[in-house]
């Protein structure tokens, strides 16, 4: 028993689910559900269909190169059965799965961090544009002018003191 991958969406196909199609060039395609099967029959390219994993990996939205993903690659060398290896493998699978999930999550978080920065800049621009909704245009002008005049007078007095 083996959990296959759907050709279109790369999701898991559990036994008893989905459909398999064998083309005349002897290439077989597995689909997890009729949605993927129908899209395939419409000749859609999974690398261009936005909701598939193939698209996400091809457009850099998800982790592609990682050691944790190497474990999933299919090997064509059968391993001689050994109970110890079997037990260790099961434990290793759990740990590798954990690590893989964390790395994938971190990759996505890092990708989305840029958004926070952009949002902040956007917010600043928005506030500057609509400042008239928060503060009246000539709100503090009178006080500012007064403060300026006071400062100027002070400067004049200082200069006069210096001359003297």
């Amino acid at each position: 028993m083996r959990i296959e991958k759907c050709y279109f969406c790369s999701g898991p196909v559990y036994p008893g689910h989905g459909m398999m199609f064998v083309r005349n060039d002897c290439k077989s395609f597995r689909f997890c559900r009729s949605k993927c099967h129908k899209n395939f029959k419409k000749k859609r390219n999974p690398r261009k269909t936005r909701w598939t994993k193939a698209f996400r990996k091809a457009s850099g939205k998800e982790l592609t190169v990682d050691n944790a993903l190497e474990f999933e690659k299919r090997r064509n060398m059968p391993v001689k059965y050994n109970r110890a290896i079997w037990d260790k493998t099961v434990e290793a699978m759990k740990r590798v799965e954990e690590i893989k999930r964390k790395r994938q999550a971190r990759f996505i978080m890092n990708r989305l961090k840029k958004g926070i920065q952009l949002k902040k800049e956007e917010d600043i621009v928005e506030v500057k544009k609509n400042i008239h909704l928060i503060k009246a245009p000539h709100a503090g002008k009178a006080k500012q002018l007064e403060a300026k005049m006071v400062q100027k007078l002070q400067e004049d007095v200082d200069m006069a003191d210096e001359d003297l």
Binding site: M19, M20, F21, V22, N24, C26
Partner: protein
Amino acid sequence: MALSLLSRSLAGLLVESSSITHQRTFSVSAVAAAIQKMTRVRVVDNSSLGNTPYHRAPRVIHVYTQNGIGKVGDKVLLAIKGQKKKALIVGHKMPGDRMTPRFDSNNVVLIEDNGNPTGTRIKVPIPTHLRKHEGEYSKVLAIASAFV
């Protein structure tokens, strides 16, 4: 009493209306056909009879089942190159049982009367659920190189 009369008349009405609707409807039985007489098939082994070109495609002229419908694992009689030959169905375009693959063409393997295959190799993938007829078709399974 009035109620019973009412209910009876209502029932009568209902019966009449159902009969009317019954007359209007027609029965549609799904034709669960896969391979039947006169279907053109594709021979997938490497026998000379199956691979030499002929101006007419190999056709099914008889299906050895109770109803005339042939699914994977059924024997059929083919007309190839003006001769009659038995064959085994190894894949059809019609979606079959769950967990069985669907093929892009109606594939067939030429067979003798005793069940021995005519060719020596089958390159096209063969569905694994043929293995349950291990006794009859063991020789055909033996010459298959790919299973699906």
